[in-house]
């Protein structure tokens, strides 16, 4: 008798079940627990109970949230409270014996860039981290999701986590992406289509020819913003792209063990006939370079569109919400988005801080100059990305064009390290959230892909990068 066909998600879930509770929740075993420098309260919770970590060998940490990106010396962090966040991670690593890629380590970086880069994140694993963008690692065919601080403490003590089995959703994106259209545009389009709560309670499997055709970097971007559609986790079935990306990385098996791992990973793909709770199908050809106009990632439109008119809203509530967003964003209904002037540009983050992103942005910056009055930053996603970009000469292209070339970290994506805009400033940003105040009180954020952000830097306004590409 053939076993019931299962989805990729179900295969990973089933393999990690430790036990079931009366109320239907499952205790799952965690393969990789990633930590960053905002984790101090979880260690306090552990200490308060007199508990030690159960599996420090499965735990990996790197500071990213609180470290300024103009220095690598913790003692130089001017704010003692922020300095303490970085130092406490070092103390906890020393006391508990887990791996730390600290500020002086060539492997430091944003935790969601570092995990895949070091081969810590592998197909079929369960990966958790106290950060909602942990969904990133699902691009490798892992089940990866963000958790709260109490849950982090729970994983530190037990290496396990209670979860109710989520529903499954398959998003198939078929066809070829147009010129200038990237994974960032795909995920913004997905969120705009299904809404910011469109996948709440679900794990998404991304499929279809457009997804298969994405590089590993692109898939990481796609899965990264899955949380912005309400889903805790997004996954892509491992394939040759995945294996080619992983082979030879630091924590990946070698020789016969590699062959065995690849064979196991190949079997992870959803079985033919596996049943998903929901299906969404999108046509890749309809996706344009996309930019947000409001204060939620779902408020995303093609860059050549006009700012939507609240008068056309389907309900009074929606109308009021749109009016509030436009007031905050300082935009008028019907205004062409491509006319909107920007004050700052931020290229980086766990969404778009990888080497391919920097290459795309440098391609636009090459031979051009940052517009007068615009402050433009490039913040590599990791120290390794930074070194590779420098080896390729990208840093020189950026510097010559007038961009600041900085050290690796989360930086202006959320500004916990103090790197924020001034009230009223408008930022073209490759990050993941355009929430009110996300990049500083009163700051206005437009999300877009790295080439579009570079285009905004050199023209001084939101720009359809395809026009610059035509101009050559």
């Amino acid at each position: 008798m053939n076993p019931e066909p299962r989805t990729m998600f179900e295969k990973v879930w089933d393999r990690h079940r430790v036990l079931e509770r009366e109320d239907g929740q499952t205790l799952l075993y965690v393969d990789r627990h990633l930590l960053h420098d905002g984790t101090a309260p979880a260690f306090e919770m552990l200490k308060a109970r007199g508990q030690k970590m159960r599996a420090p060998g499965r735990t990996f940490a790197t500071p990213d949230h609180y470290m300024p990106t103009d220095t690598r010396i913790a003692a130089e962090i001017p704010d003692p409270a922020l300095r303490e966040m970085v130092l406490s991670l070092e103390r906890n690593a020393a006391a508990e014996g887990f791996a730390l890629y600290g500020l002086d380590d060539p492997r430091q970086g944003i935790v969601h860039v570092v995990g895949p880069e070091l081969g810590l994140s592998q197909p079929g694993m369960i990966i958790v981290c106290g950060d909602s963008h942990t969904s990133t690692h699902g691009a490798l065919g892992a089940l990866a999701f963000g958790i709260g601080m109490t849950e982090v403490a729970h994983v530190l003590a037990t290496q396990c986590l209670w979860q109710r089995k989520p529903k499954t959703m398959r998003i198939a994106i078929e066809g070829a992406l147009g010129a200038g259209v990237t994974a960032k545009d795909v995920i913004l389009h997905v969120i705009a289509t299904i809404g910011t709560a469109g996948a709440t309670g679900h794990v998404i499997e991304y499929a279809g020819s457009a997804v298969r055709g994405l590089s590993m970097e692109g898939r990481l971007t796609l899965c990264n913003m899955t949380i912005e559609a309400g889903a805790r986790a997004g996954m892509v079935a491992p394939d040759e792209t995945t294996f080619a990306f992983l082979e030879g990385r630091e924590n990946v098996p070698t020789g016969a063990a590699w062959d065995a791992a690849v064979a196991r990973w190949r079997s992870l793909a959803s079985d033919p006939g596996a049943v998903f709770d929901r299906f969404v199908e999108l046509d890749a050809a309809t996706i344009a370079p996309t930019v947000t106009w409001g204060t939620s990632p779902q408020e995303a439109v093609a860059v050549d569109s006009r700012v939507p008119d609240p008068a056309a809203a389907p309900s009074p509530g929606r109308r009021a919400e749109m009016e509030e967003m436009l007031a905050y964003m300082g935009l008028s209904p019907g205004q062409l988005l491509a006319e909107v002037a920007v004050d700052r540009v931020f290229i980086g983050s766990c969404t778009n801080g990888r080497i391919e992103d920097l290459r795309a942005a440098a391609g636009v910056a090459r031979g051009r100059q940052v517009a007068e009055g615009v402050t433009a930053w490039v913040v590599p996603g990791s120290a390794q990305v930074k070194r590779q970009a420098e080896a390729e000469g990208l840093d020189r292209i950026f510097r010559e064009a007038g961009f600041a070339w900085r050290e690796a970290g989360c930086s202006m994506c959320l500004g916990t390290n103090g790197e924020i805009g001034r009230p009223g400033e408008r930022i073209a940003s490759t990050s993941n959230r355009n929430f009110r105040g996300r990049q500083g009180p009163g700051v206005r954020t437009h999300l877009m892909n790295p080439a579009m952000a570079a285009a905004a830097a050199v023209t001084g306004r939101i720009t359809d990068v395809r026009r610059l590409m035509e101009a050559g």
Partner: protein, 200 residues
């Protein structure tokens, strides 16, 4: 240890927007505060106060009738976005013990259950009615009874709600999940031995 969850009776404070994100509930610049700091003072900081520190008069938390509210009303997808548990600490620190909304950001709802802030899902039309009642009668009181799993609206109508039985037990008795999981140490060890054998 958490305090046992009380039977709640309080005015209901409406935050009548969909998709309120945790960056609004607790702005990122307060994320480094220690667990025992006054997170309640930072709740909705940038919507609640002007840049000069003066109060935004019509923000719900500043309305006289609602200052001591222990029950919040929210729109769809309440507290979406960042996983920051600090958003729950801010609501709890301010005095809230329950949020009633049609739907929640997943991680926030989980964080709430583990910190004595009960997420109560009711149908969108029921929540809209309760928000309208709060605005019409700011002093009207709402009851959340976790034992009975009911909400009594200001107009006296009773609305049942669902909650995970285990989370309910933990909340009512003020116990936490970690102790329960630690009591299953042997099951976890057995799983780890199997894991070692299968080499993954």
């Amino acid at each position: 240890m958490m305090e046992p969850f009380p039977r709640l009776r309080s005015v209901a404070v409406p935050f009548a927007r969909d998709n309120i994100d945790t960056d609004q509930i607790l702005p990122a610049r307060f994320l480094h505060l220690a667990r025992d700091a006054d997170h309640g003072a930072c709740l909705f900081r940038d919507l609640r106060y002007h840049a000069d520190g003066s109060e935004v008069e019509d923000f719900p938390l500043n309305r006289p009738a609602w200052r001591a509210g222990r029950i919040a009303l929210g729109g769809e997808n309440f507290a979406c976005g960042s996983s920051r548990e600090n958003a729950v600490w801010a609501m709890h620190g301010h005095g809230f013990r329950a949020v009633i909304a049609p739907s929640f950001g997943d991680i926030f709802a989980q964080n709430g259950l583990k910190n004595g802030l009960l997420p109560v899902r009711l149908p969108a039309e029921t929540v809209a009615m309760m928000i309208a009642q709060a605005e019409a009668m700011p002093e009207g009181e709402v009851t959340v009874d976790l034992e009975a799993q009911t909400v009594t609206a200001a107009d006296g109508t009773i609305h049942p709600f669902e909650v995970d039985p285990f989370a309910r037990k933990c909340l009512l008795e003020g116990i936490d999940e970690m102790s329960f999981t630690l009591s299953h140490h042997e099951d976890i060890a057995a799983f780890e031995r199997r894991l070692g054998r299968e080499n993954f």
